[in-house]
Every structure is written in structure tokens, then in C-alpha cells.
């Protein structure tokens, strides 16, 4: 075991995968010589050579399009989109190509690719470096969508994603890269080295895609969260004193519905939280599933807490970000309902 940040954990996942399988290649903007703007690929080019880890032109449709071609050949590309906000030029390649190649060719060709992309706000990135586009992926059949919340999961899920036979969108909450950020931006950063989930095995292990994890057992209300919001939810539970059960989804597609249903049947209440905008967000899907499967157990309407339906602002970042205070108010509201 070693202490790792989330950056080191995803790097270790790629390192382990490249070591085990020489069909794994890594490329993207600035990922080669320099090692990526967040340093996730640092050292991989030096270790595996520049035909297995290299810099790509600033062309997301080109990066994803060539990755699809490489996968059709038999490689397993794990590419980096520098920010999730930059994936839009590749959206055609992701949604109409990567997601459907297996289906439309009846398995004659497949597309085992991983697109890693830093997501979410909290770093004063403004509207083009803060977005959370996960719902734009979960609406696409044929994709898998993974959002880890800690270094241990990040490594196990990334190795599982690289080994997966289908395309995986791997969204890395960038505010979690260096520590378990709980939304208290005015407090000192707690590093992963001081957190249990910063303990990461150095070798190979996987965490199955499609399995949620309960981060806090509770009886009063179920909080469904993923990524940064897992830590916000834990803080909100402590600070309100409400005995919330906090579910870390880890995978949005496929979704671990059983874990959600079991928890809501126990608590009778449910709050869904995400940083992405509210309308047509993933929270809407969770809320619909909860009312469909747990209607007669519900004591109160399902509540969604999310980013406002506006672009992500720069200066007003902390008024936009759904922190523990906003989530705490929702918990109180759902308990009083």
C-alpha cells in the first residue's frame, strides 16, 4: 500500500495497465513529454516510449476519432480530454461512433476506449473549465459513465475501465485530485495522505463498474451522490446532525439501482445531489427511478440539489457550487416534509 493523491492513483492505474498489456496506449493534449496539465500522465512517456504515450494535436474529434480507429485495430486507447468542457467537438465521435460500433456491426467491430476527463468546478475555472457533462453521456446507450470520488476507487475503476470491452467515459472530479474537498473552500485543504481512501495498493486491482458504495450508514434519509458531492454530503450529514445514508454511485451507467432502492426503502426519504445543472440532470433520472421503485416507502418528495441552471460563473463560484450548507438545508427540508 502507498499513500496516493487521486492524480497519482489514476497515473498508477495507467502505469499498471500499460505494464500488463502493451495494447494500452495513452495520448491527448500535453500528455506526452510534459505529462498532462494536471500531471496525470507524468513519467509514462519516459517509461513506455513515445509511441505508447504521446502528445496529440488540439483536436478532440481527432483524438477520439483516432482512438476509435485504434480500438478497431485491437489497441486499448486510454485518452485524455484536457477538460470535460473540451469534449464537445468529439461528441459526434463519442455518441454516434464509439457508442454504437459494437451494435451496428453486430460485434464485428468493437470500441474498447477510455476517455478520461477532469470534470466539475471549485478551482475558479469559469464556464469553460468547470462543467459536469455526465448527463450528456448517460443519455447515450452504448457508453459507460464512471465518476470516482477518491484515489482508491479512481485506480480500481480506471483499470476496470481500461479492461472493459466497451467505451467508458471516466470523469475525474478535478477538485478531488489533491484532497477530499467537502465544499468548505475557506478551510485548509485536507490532503489525501490524511484520508483512509488515499491508501492505494501499488499493483493491479479492479473495482467493478456498476457497483455503488455506501459511504455513511444512516437511517433518516438517503443521499445519492457521486464525485465531489460525496464529500459534501458527508459534511452536510455531520453538520446538520441528520442521520443520512450517503451512497457514492461511482458508476452512473450502468447504475446500481439495487443499492439505491434498498436504502430508500429503509430511510423513506431521498435527496439527490450533483454539481451539474438541475434541469434534465442525472438527478432527474435518479428521482424518477426512486419514485418508480420506492413510491410506497417514500415519506416525502424526492429532492434534487444541483448547480443552478446557468453557466458556471467565475467570481461567484461558491454561490454556484452546491456546498454543505445548501445540501444541509435540503436535508432539513426533506426531514420536515
Amino acid at each position: 500500500m502507498a499513500r496516493m493523491t487521486m492524480i497519482e492513483a489514476v497515473r498508477s492505474a495507467m502505469d499498471v495497465s500499460m505494464e500488463r498489456d502493451d495494447n494500452v496506449v495513452v495520448f491527448g493534449e500535453d500528455v506526452g513529454y510534459f505529462g498532462g496539465v494536471f500531471r496525470c500522465t507524468q513519467g509514462l512517456q519516459a517509461k513506455y516510449g513515445k509511441t505508447r504515450c504521446f502528445d496529440a494535436p488540439i483536436s478532440e474529434s481527432g483524438i477520439v476519432g483516432t482512438a476509435i480507429g485504434m480500438a478497431a485495430y485491437g489497441l486499448k486507447p486510454c485518452v485524455e480530454i484536457q477538460f470535460a468542457d473540451y469534449m464537445y467537438p468529439a461528441y459526434d465521435q463519442i455518441t454516434q461512433e464509439a457508442a454504437r460500433i459494437r451494435y451496428r456491426s453486430n460485434g464485428d467491430f468493437t470500441c474498447p476506449i477510455v476517455l478520461r476527463m477532469p470534470t466539475g468546478g471549485g478551482i475558479f475555472g469559469g464556464q469553460t473549465h468547470s462543467q459536469s457533462p455526465e448527463a450528456l453521456f448517460t443519455h447515450v446507450c452504448g457508453l459507460k459513465v464512471v465518476v470516482p470520488s477518491n484515489p482508491y476507487d479512481a485506480k480500481g475503476l480506471l483499470i476496470a475501465s481500461i479492461e472493459d470491452p466497451d467505451p467508458v467515459m471516466f470523469l475525474e472530479p478535478k477538485r478531488l485530485y489533491n484532497g477530499p474537498f467537502d465544499g468548505h473552500h475557506d478551510r485548509p485543504v485536507i490532503p489525501w495522505s490524511k484520508h483512509d481512501l488515499g491508501e492505494v495498493p501499488e499493483g493491479h486491482y479492479t473495482i467493478p463498474i456498476g457497483k455503488a458504495e455506501i459511504r455513511r450508514q444512516g437511517s433518516a434519509v438517503t443521499v445519492v451522490a457521486y464525485g465531489t458531492m460525496v464529500h459534501v454530503a458527508l459534511a452536510a450529514a455531520e453538520e446538520t446532525g441528520i442521520d443520512a445514508e450517503v451512497i457514492d454511485l461511482r458508476s452512473l451507467l450502468p447504475l446500481d439501482l439495487d443499492t439505491i432502492v434498498k436504502s430508500v426503502e429503509k430511510t423513506g426519504r431521498c435527496v439527490v445531489v450533483h454539481e451539474a445543472t438541475l434541469t434534465s440532470g442525472f438527478g432527474g433520472e435518479v428521482a424518477a427511478l426512486v419514485q418508480e421503485h420506492c413510491f410506497y416507502h417514500l415519506e416525502a418528495p424526492v429532492v434534487r440539489v444541483a448547480g443552478w441552471d446557468t453557466p458556471y460563473p467565475h467570481a461567484q463560484e461558491w454561490d454556484y457550487f452546491p456546498g454543505p450548507a445548501r445540501l444541509g438545508r435540503a436535508l432539513v427540508e426533506v426531514m420536515e416534509a
Binding site: A56, G65, T66, M70, A72, E97, R104, D108
Partner: protein, 410 residues
Amino acid sequence: MSDLDRLSLHVPEPAVRPGGQPDFSNVKIPKAGSVPRPEVDVAPEEMRDLAYSIIRVLNRDGEAVGPWARLLSDDELLSGLRHMMLLRAFDARMVMAQRQGKTSFYMQHLGEEAVSCAFRKVLVKGDMNFPTYRQAGLLIADGYPMVEMMNQIFSNESDPLRGRQLPIMYSSKEHGFFTISGNLATQYVQAVGWAMASAIKRDTKIAAAWIGDGSTAESDFHSALVFASTYKAPVILNIVNNQWAISTFQGIARGGSGTFAARGLGFGIPALRVDGNDYLAVYAVAKWAAERARRNLGPTLIEYVTYRVGAHSTSDDPSAYRPKTESEAWPLGDPVLRLKKHLILRGAWSEERHAQAEAEITDEVIQAQKQAEGHGTLHAGGKPSVRDIFEGVYAEMPPHIRRQRQKAGY
């Protein structure tokens, strides 16, 4: 400032519209045999002229002339003629089948048969095409069974794609034919990625990308050229310029660049234009490009100058946007008739043998069609299962899709 006119927008127009006299005087046709053949390792900047000319081998008398000639034997040419005739007969039967309601949709190759049929012959087993919807000659010339193609077109119980794809969107890894998307241009950059993978693995295989004149306007065309040029990928970048993108003439995508081939010059990619209706010229230029790729010299851009004689698809009526007689005025002639004339001149073929071959080929296509129809057509007979809707979205069916399949009653 005051002495300047106000701005005005330029919107290109084709030379002629329906009712007008077809006019191809703007298509400059060099003499057959007049374009030099550079060595494959020549620097791209030393062959820039080839992006503006047209490489031709067959002259008006049917003779093969010049430095790009004499690559193919009688037998190879006869087999090429047969492939083109087969594709033409196949198309004719399938257009008819669509009119009879046996399928929803079809796209034919009339006038463009030489491009894909001749190109296929420079590839070897293991190479990969990333085609558009008008390259079925790649399958025909590689011996892919016509019955399989028809099973796909009819979406019947033996459809290899289980009814999921629009007719003619074939897929065959075994025959080096990547699954057709139906989206435009996406495959162009995928081909470059496949070629990069071959180079990463120190393999010997090459890729071929396909696109039409209209779709070169897509950003994926640019992405493909950037990546191909940057990594010197072993890929042949083919542009089939058949003059028309549905109803839009090629001037709308080409803009002021002169030719589509010239798009390659800014990327330092050797670019050639070739007579797409000349089987021998298509073969010779494709061979040249394939050799460059195999020798690790990088990508080549080829523009095939041809003409889409038929409608864009069975849903299209070209008389609404171009003169009905335009195809007859097309100055590069018909690929089947030109190769036939050449073979007769070589003493390897005759009118009688041609007529006999035509009859045999038609019969062969009809037999295949009978066999395919035995497995059903779109609205009659055997069809894929409703279960096939839900299979194959992922390698392993996730619970939510399983629940939906059960809800559908399967």
C-alpha cells in the same frame, strides 16, 4: 470609406440548372499519359502539380498510354471488368427491389464503379477500409458473397447485422470493410487512427479512408489530415469527387481551393488527382499510394474525378437540380465501356463475349437474390428477432436493458 460599395455575400452556383445545356468546359481534362509518375519517395513539394491535373491512362481510342500504364495483365483487367459489371447489375436489381418494397432504401454506384473496384486490388488481406455508402465495389472485388449483402439490404432473418442498420451499411472485418456509419466524415479520422495503430504495433497493414466531395467540408476531414500528417500514418486518404452532394454541387464544399486534392498540400501530404472513370488509372495511382504507405513514407491524398450518374439514393430525384442529360455530357465517359473498349483493343475481349458476360452476371445476381429472398425481405418472410434490438449494445447486457427487453415481452 465612402467610395467603397457595401459588402455582398458570394454564394457559388453550378454552371447549369435543369432546362439548361450541360456544360463541363470548366473541367480541364489533360491528355491521357501526359501526367508524370514521380518516385514514391519524392518530396511532396516537388509534386504539387499533381494536385491540379488529372492522371489518365486510357485515351479516347481505348489505348493505355503514359508512365502510369502497363501495370495489369489481361486476366487482371478482365476480372476488374467483371467486378464493375457485377456491381452495376447488383445495383440495378437492388434499385428495382427497393421500388418493389423489398427494402426501404438503396444507394447505387452508377458511373463510379471503377473507383472502389480498382482500389480494392491494391490492398492485401488484413488491410482495412473505412468506407462511405458508395464503395460496395470494395466488397464485390474482394469476393464478399452477394447473398450476404442482400440479406443485409433486405434486413431478413439472415441479416448479418440483425436488422439494426440501414440497408447497404455493411460491415465485414474479414473483408477489410469497417462498419459504415451513415454519419459523414467520422470514418476519415478513424482510418487514420487504425493506421497509427498498425504503425504503433510495427505491423505491415495499411488503412484506406473514404469520403465524398461534399463531406470534405466536415471538421473530421481536417482532423484526419492533421493527424495523418503529424504522425505520417500509413493511410490512403481517398476523396471521391462525383460532382454532387445530394443536390449541392461540389463548388459549395470546394470553395476557392481549385481542387479537393489541393487540400492536402497545406498539410505536406502528397496529393494526386486521377480520372475516376479509368480503371487502369485508379489502380495505378492507388498502387502508388499503397506503396508509399507500406514503405512507411506516410499518407497520400487522392481525388477521384468522377460523376454520379444515378440519384444520390432511392429517396432522391436529380432532375430537380441538374439537367437530365448532364451525365451524357460528362467528359470522362463510362468506366465499364472504357475498360471494355481497351480489352477489345488488346484482343482480350469482344462484343460477343461482353454480351454473354452481361447475361451470365445478371443471372448470377438473380440467383443470389432468389436465395436471399428465401430468408425474407423487409416486410415479408423471415426477419430478425425483437430480441436483437436489445442485444449487443454492450458486450454484457446491463440490468436496465434486460428489464426493458422483458417489458417488450422478450
